[in-house]
């Protein structure tokens, strides 16, 4: 039912680039020309036939580290976003449907969490807890879920008063059916558009944490950490720090192109038939 010729150009570009990033992430050990921590040349060598993107501040191959970095960055961002959406959407929908004290309690709790700047909150928590990938994901996921919570609650409150939800309640449906079968499919459009955005925020947040030294720990590579490692080179006209930054930007744009396209499709009320 999906006709490749009918995908708009922007979405197609987005799909291609997202796919490239994903392939790089999944098959990193097979694609990367050198090892992750292998020192293969001089410090900050320019691009050449053997090192396509040059080398970094320790003489490691930048392309290999970019590929391994894609793996860490995308993996953490995907899992953290998934966590934040599951948590935020389920709690947000439940608050909207249940109302009453649950709604009040959850909403005030979220307000409380949101009143503390995310980065500072993250810094405090991460400097207390041991910095492992699991804590990173949990901290990022939970902090981000507050935004998702507010959005899903706002969307669900509107849907909850529609006649078809009332019909389901009159039928005696349980809360799970109402949330997942009546509300969720109708709340998908704003959530998907938020998903693209939130994923990128997760990448940026992770990069910021790594840049500050609290994210992914060396020698593991991630794009934010690589910017940090190579930032001193900028003074000498070495572009090594700009390449991971550019990769973050490219990922951000391509993911959102795909999200927008999915959004167009999910808003269609005719099951994707007809005017796609």
């Amino acid at each position: 039912m999906l006709d490749i010729r009918r995908i708009p150009l922007g979405a197609l570009l987005g799909l291609i680039f997202t796919a490239l990033f994903l392939i790089a992430a999944v098959f990193a050990p097979w694609i990367a020309p050198y090892g992750l921590g292998e020192i293969v040349g001089n410090v900050w060598e320019p691009g050449s036939a053997s090192f396509w993107l040059g080398t970094d501040n320790l003489g490691r191959d930048l392309l290999s580290r970019m590929i391994y970095g894609a793996r860490t960055t995308i993996f953490i961002a995907v899992v953290a976003t998934a966590l934040s959406f599951t948590l935020g959407a389920v709690l947000g929908f439940t608050a909207a449907v249940a109302g009453g004290w649950f709604d009040t309690l959850m909403s005030r709790l979220v307000d409380l969490l949101m009143s503390i700047p995310t980065l500072i909150f993250g810094l405090v928590v991460l400097s207390v807890l041991p910095t492992t990938i699991v804590t990173l994901i949990l901290v990022m996921g939970i902090l981000d879920s507050t935004r998702v919570y507010r959005l899903s609650r706002a969307v669900a409150v509107d849907i909850n008063v529609m006649d078809f939800v009332e019909a389901a309640k009159l039928r005696g449906e349980g809360r799970a059916w109402i949330i997942f079968r009546e509300i969720l499919p109708n709340a998908l459009s704003p959530l998907v558009s938020e998903l693209g955005l939130r994923f990128i925020y997760a990448v940026l947040f992770l990069s910021a944490l790594s840049f500050l030294g609290l994210g992914v720990q060396p020698p593991a590579a991630d794009w934010g950490g690589m910017v940090k490692e190579n930032k001193d080179g900028i003074v000498f006209g070495i572009p090594a720090a700009l390449i991971p930054a550019a990769a973050i930007a490219a990922l951000a744009i391509s993911v959102n192109l795909v999200a927008d396209w999915i959004l167009n499709r999910t808003t269609d009320l005719k099951g994707g038939r007809g005017n796609a």
Binding site: M162, D163, F164, E166, A167, K169, L170, R171, G172, E173, R181, E182, P185, N186, L269, K270, G271, R273, G274, N275
Partner: protein, 554 residues
């Protein structure tokens, strides 16, 4: 009335459409986009000061033709052929500066839903005089004076000051009249009325209708009056044009169309309400009794039901009639448990039902099903028909897989729709089909009572008729009882066994249909009965003259 158009050259006919063709692009499911023709070479002539009624079901092209009179195509609709000659010039070829000058100056438009057509952020007066100011017809002071005079003519309350209110501060019927004032303010040559009374209660409709008729007569403006209600159009127009699928069916004088229709389709429209249903005697004991129910919103602040008692007998229909705000729908909410009553009780099969939804057993819930007014929003737009109808089967009876599909097919058959509809989404159904699917969903639960909340009021008369017939047939087959909430007395006459008339939260008249509908009447029932438009010229004047009380929604 000063003649604003004196300087213009004035041909005898004001508006002439010749072989008007209007097309649009549609996107049918599973096919490539294609062009369809909405209006097929329709021609009409309208003389100055005359009123032409355009009538037909939805999709007949009435509104499209109405809007074409000002050179406008709504929502991607294209005028592809023919000419529209207004005041002696073809406006389709005249370019945008001419159309901009004539809209709001020579032709004005009165929309169906005044509530949606007014900008809620501006005061009424600013919106009423806007067109007159924009076209330089009058200065602000002069325009406002005209507006106040029009408010008075349209019998709006407090004409001096009503313009200072915002749209949400006046009732629906008043807003519709303000919109008529807005159309009349720049003293146009032609007004297009697009179903101006369809969204109103019968008791309010009659006032608005009388006001519009009087205003047309006094200002000698010409009008295109678009509606699907032949009885309404018969009151205001000189001529009637019947349309169907964008083609002209019949065009003639009002008297000829309603008394001696020449075409079969016109005949069907004229005789639409005649459904025969023999009243059943309330045999045995009622299975559902509402006893002295009082209910309110906002924690006791607004009492909407006062001491209401009604009984429903197995396999029979109780119609609850009244205007908006009389508490009809609240009664349904109290019975279903959505709004727990403050006092009184609902008894079902000798047992008292829990006041709240959560206090009722699954089987109690199954026995009471509901069909809503707006079928659009009563179905989850993301679920295909098979899921919508299949869910109650799965939920109440545990039917799964092939067995469920078989039963869904059976139910689709019952509502006179084929198997092919099972995987359609609600957006792919017509209004009548949507309502049928809602009926099937209610039937799937095999209930003893179905509450029908204004189920036909959003539908065209012919489609509504089909739904009513279906409901009656199903009642015979399944022995289900209906609680039928409506403001349309014609519907009541055709399907009810007993009737409860509600007014401001109270049941003012209750009993068997034949008793309720025979004199002597109380004042309110009389008002309700006399407000139902009859297909008879001169009915409006007679009805207004004979009224004993003013309507509450006015």
């Amino acid at each position: 009335m000063p003649d604003a158009a004196a300087g213009r050259d004035r041909p005898e006919s004001l508006l002439e459409m010749r072989k008007l063709r209007i097309e649009a692009t549609v996107y049918p499911p599973g096919e490539d986009p294609k062009n369809i023709t909405l209006v097929h070479d329709v021609s009409l002539t309208l003389k100055r000061g005359r009123v032409l009624g355009l009538i037909g079901e939805s999709g007949a092209g009435k509104s499209t033709i109405g809007l074409a009179s000002m050179g406008y195509g709504r929502g991607g609709v294209r005028i592809t052929g023919g000419e529209v000659v207004l005041n002696g010039r073809d406006i389709l070829r005249a370019g945008s500066s001419t159309t901009r000058k004539l809209r709001g100056r020579e032709v004005c438009y009165v929309a169906q839903s005044a509530a949606a057509a007014f900008n809620p952020a501006h005061r009424l007066m600013d919106q009423v005089v806007e067109a007159a100011l924009l076209h330089g017809v009058a200065g602000r002071a002069e325009a406002e004076r005209r507006a106040v005079a029009l408010f008075r003519k349209l019998s709006l309350p407090d004409p001096e000051n009503i313009g200072r209110r915002f749209p949400h501060q006046v009732s629906g019927g008043q807003l519709q009249r303000v919109m008529t004032a807005m159309a009349l303010c720049p003293e146009p040559d032609l007004i297009v009325f697009d179903e101006p009374t369809t969204a109103l209660d019968v008791t309010t409709q009659i006032d608005v209708l009388a006001a519009i008729k009087e205003a047309i007569r006094d200002t000698r403006v010409a009008a295109l009056y678009i509606t699907h209600d032949l009885a309404v159009v018969a009151q205001v127009s000189d001529e009637i044009m019947v349309l169907r699928h964008g083609r002209l069916v019949e065009w003639g004088g009002t008297r000829q169309i309603i008394k001696e229709p020449r075409q079969e389709y016109t005949n069907a429209l004229v005789s639409v309400h005649e459904i025969s249903h023999d009243e059943q005697q309330p045999g045995g004991t009622p299975f559902l009794s509402v006893k002295n129910v009082t209910a309110s919103y906002g924690g006791g602040l607004v009492k909407v039901l006062k001491d209401v008692s009604v009984d429903i007998f197995p396999g029979q229909t109780l119609a609850v009639v009244g205007e908006s705000g009389s508490g009809k729908s609240t009664l349904a909410r109290a019975i279903t448990g959505l709004l727990p009553p403050e006092k009184g009780s609902v008894t079902f099969g000798g047992r008292k039902l829990g006041n709240r939804l959560s206090d009722r057993s699954k089987d109690d819930l199954r026995q009471l099903q509901m069909i809503y007014q707006m079928a659009d929003v009563a179905m989850n737009p993301r679920q295909p028909v098979a899921t919508i109808i299949g869910r109650p089967l799965e939920f109440y009876f545990g039917l799964k897989g092939a067995e469920r599909d078989r039963r869904v097919a059976e139910l689709l058959e019952k509502i006179e729709m084929g198997k092919g509809f099972a995987d359609r989404y609600p957006a792919e159904l017509s209004g009548g089909q949507k309502q049928r699917v809602c009926i099937a969903r209610a039937l799937a639960a095999q209930p003893r009572l179905i509450i029908c909340d204004e189920v036909t009021s959003a539908l065209d008369p012919l489609v509504a008729n089909g739904i009513l017939k279906l409901l009656l047939d199903l009642q015979k087959e399944e022995g289900v009882a209906y609680l039928f909430i409506t403001h349309d007395l014609a519907t009541v006459k055709s399907i009810a066994d007993s009737i409860a008339v509600m007014y401001r939260g109270e049941v003012v008249r209750y009993g068997q249909k034949s008793k309720v509908l025979s004199p002597p009447f109380d004042a309110y029932t009389d008002l309700l009965l006399s407000s139902v438009p009859e297909m008879e010229i001169g009915w409006l004047e007679k009805a207004i003259g004979g009224r004993r009380m003013a309507s509450a929604g006015n």
